[in-house]
Amino acid sequence: MEWNYESAENLAAALRAGDVTSAELTDGAIAAIERDDAAINAICVKDFDRARDAAREADRARPAARTGRCWAYR
């Protein structure tokens, strides 16, 4: 499934439903940047290692966070 063009609203729903993990979404976005940004040059400072760490942390925290305000990649 291609997630890179989904809305944050739909991503949050997919994460809550367990259809995808934050780590998978993050890896997909990083792959798109590495593939396509050479021609666009939108991302001037990459922070991929910390993004992957934050995604894994979000995946670990999700069951506990289900009732919170958790819309973004969570």
Partner: protein, 409 residues
Amino acid sequence: MTVKESYDIAGLPTTWGMPQYRDFMPAEDALQVSRLKAAGAVVLGKTNVPVGLQDIQSFNPLHGTTNNPWDHSRTSGGSSGGSAAALASGFGALSIGSDLAGSLRTPAHFCGIYSHKPSLGLVASRGMVPPPGPALPAELDLAVAGPMARTARDLALLLDVMAGPDPLTHGVAYRLELPPARHERLADFRVLVVEDHPYIPTGAAVRAGVQRTADALAAGGARVDRHSPLLPDLAESAELYRLFLFSGSVARFPVDELAQLRSRAAELSPDDRSLQAAVLRGMLLSHGDWMTANQRRELVRHQWRQLFAEYDAVVCPITPTPAFPHDHQPDPFKRVLDVDGTGYPYFDQLVWAGLPTMPGLPATAVPTGRSTEGLPVGVQLIGPMFEDRTPLKLAELLERETGGFQRRT
């Protein structure tokens, strides 16, 4: 998601595209970055900007030029041009930018995505400051931080995370309570559509975008007017905006030739109401002049309050044309914007962005489809002060009619 380069993120440099600050490392996350992380956002990186955020294209000596995803020979817009290009390219679902001269809205218009310029003062800006800082909880004039996304509803979700006073200042005493949108159905909206400006013509591609929006509103049953005596004088608004914009710009980024500017200003006729004269006067504005201009601004704000008693939103262009070809002429006063074959001074295209910025009104940039050349065309929906949810809801309702963000295939 991504974050505009101009926001502090601990562990990454904040340069605003200025080579002398290539190693400037802020100690803390900007307040907005903290709020995003607390809400669970994963930050992929920072997005490109023009030098000092002082342009509506995004290129600088440190990070090069951001291209428009729809046509690489054209600009993505600026100053939040990296963020808009990232969203149009599928790099993250959300981004945050800022807007002083259309910097949220122009890149959205050029790249076919959504952005929202919040009401002045609604979104705390601490940690969005030119290096070398310091990151103070200052109340800015004109400039705002705001959300960018591929859907209108995502803008509203992101604004909910961003909005609210800085806990160091107004947050001590004030709690945020934004009113809901005035209406839930297109048929209940009362909208004024404006497409002509006294200082610069609107090109055919943007006119067509305004028309598509007006048609969608009318098809949905909204009340659509094309003229109203309640609209504040556009020339007065453009002149005031110039004074504030260039006075602030020179205060932040001093110019070397003040004596020369003074002698040129002394030669201006008092009757010269051109935008070029307003630039010069703005650069030399004294504090007393600023107070006088600010009083004129309060009158315009009062006129807008009266307008918004009769209307819920004003639809108008963001700039007169879709994305233009890269133009790196070092002196922006020598650049020329081509509007359907006629050249106009580059900065004159800012008049539409300045219309809500000068009084501090919220404005949502929405895609309306593409030009005959295949370039995205956006318009802005200006709303009543602190009623940000009203233009955001209108953007959401229009999205169903006009198709919203289109992925480039």
